[in-house]
Subunit: 162 residues, 2 copies
DNA sequence: TATTGTTATACTCTATAACTATA
DNA sequence: TATAGTTATAGAGTATAACAATA
C-alpha cells in the first residue's frame, strides 16, 4: 500500500535561499581567487582600510571567530596586503594596517564583488531589482534577523599538554 | 598615512543571501529537531512517499551525495520512519519505503516547514511576497542557476586496508 | 578578574576511494 | 565494463580550550 503524500508545499523558500546563496558564493570565490583573495580576506581588507581597527573589531564586523581572523590576517600578511601593528591604546590589541599594495588590491576586489553582484541581478528590471533588494533588506533586519540558537553540541575538554 | 577606502559598495547581495539563508536554516533545523528530524530526513521522507524511489533517485532530488544518503536513510530506519526494500526491477537498488508512522511524521514535518516559511515572509504584503518569490524563482532558474566549478582540491588515494 | 590574540586540537560535514553485488 | 549501495577515511572548515600578555 502507498501512503498519501502531504499536500503540495508552499514555495520552498529554503531551497530558493540556499541555492542562490550557494551559487553566488561559489561565483564570488572563483572571481576573487583570480587575484588570490578569499571572501574573508576581501572583507577584512575593506573594513581595515576605512579606519583603524583591531582584529577583534574586524572579526565582529565580518562575523568571524577570532581564531578564523588569525588565519585570515596571516594570509593577508603573507600576501603583503596588510600588517599587524601594536595598538597605541591597548597593548594587547593589534591594529590591522593595510599596505599600499593592499589598498590597490582592495579597490580591485571591490570592483570584482560589485560586478558579480550586478551580474547576478542583471536579468531584473530596475523596479524588480529595487523591490527585491528592499524586501531582502527587510528580511535581514526583521523576520530573519537572528538565528535560532542551536542546541549546543557537546565538546570534550582538550587534553592537557602536561 | 591612511589609504583611501574603495567607493561605497552596491547593495551587498552576498550578505543578504548568506544571512537570510543561514538564519532560515537554523530556524528550520530547530523546528524540525522538535520532532526528531533533520532537514535531510524530511526531504527524503516527503519524496519517498510520492512514489517508489531508490536511494540514488532520492539523492539526486535532494542534491546529496550517495554516502550522505546512506546515513540519512540509516537515521530514518533507526527512527522507524522508513525501510529499505529490495527493488523488484534491479537487485542492486533499494527502494525507500515510508512506514505508517513515517507518513504521519512527514505530514507533520511538512506543516512545520510551511509554517517556518510563512513566518519568515509574514511581514510582507501579498504583492511584495508574490513579486519576491517570482524574482527568487527567476534567479534560481536563470542568473544563479549553476555554481561556478571550483578548482578541484586534490585528494590523496586511500591506504589499502590489506 | 576579564580580554586580546595565539596555538593546538577536537568535532562536524562532506566527499573520495575502494569494495561487493549485480547489471 | 558500469552502476547501486556500503564502508572507511581524508580533508576542509570551524569552534573550543588553554595560554601569555595586558587591562
Amino acid at each position: 500500500m502507498t501512503a498519501m503524500a502531504p499536500a503540495p508545499t508552499t514555495p520552498d523558500l529554503s531551497f530558493l535561499l540556499d541555492h542562490t546563496s550557494h551559487v553566488l558564493r561559489t561565483r564570488m570565490a572563483a572571481a576573487l581567487s583570480e587575484i588570490g583573495l578569499t571572501a574573508r580576506m576581501h572583507c577584512v581588507l575593506v573594513h581595515a582600510i576605512e579606519e583603524e581597527r583591531t582584529q577583534a573589531e574586524l572579526a565582529e564586523i565580518g562575523d568571524m571567530d577570532k581564531t578564523t581572523m588569525v588565519v585570515t590576517v596571516d594570509a593577508l600578511e603573507k600576501a603583503g596586503l596588510a600588517e599587524r601593528r601594536p595598538s597605541s591604546k591597548d597593548r594587547r590589541a593589534r591594529i590591522i594596517a593595510v599596505t599600499e599594495e593592499g589598498a590597490k588590491v582592495a579597490a580591485l576586489s571591490q570592483r570584482i564583488v560589485d560586478r558579480v553582484h550586478q551580474t547576478a541581478l542583471a536579468g531584473l528590471s530596475k523596479d524588480e531589482r529595487e523591490l527585491f533588494l528592499r524586501v531582502m533588506n527587510r528580511l535581514v533586519t526583521d523576520e530573519l534577523a537572528t538565528p535560532a540558537d542551536n542546541p549546543q553540541p557537546v565538546r570534550r575538554a582538550r587534553q592537557r599538554a602536561s
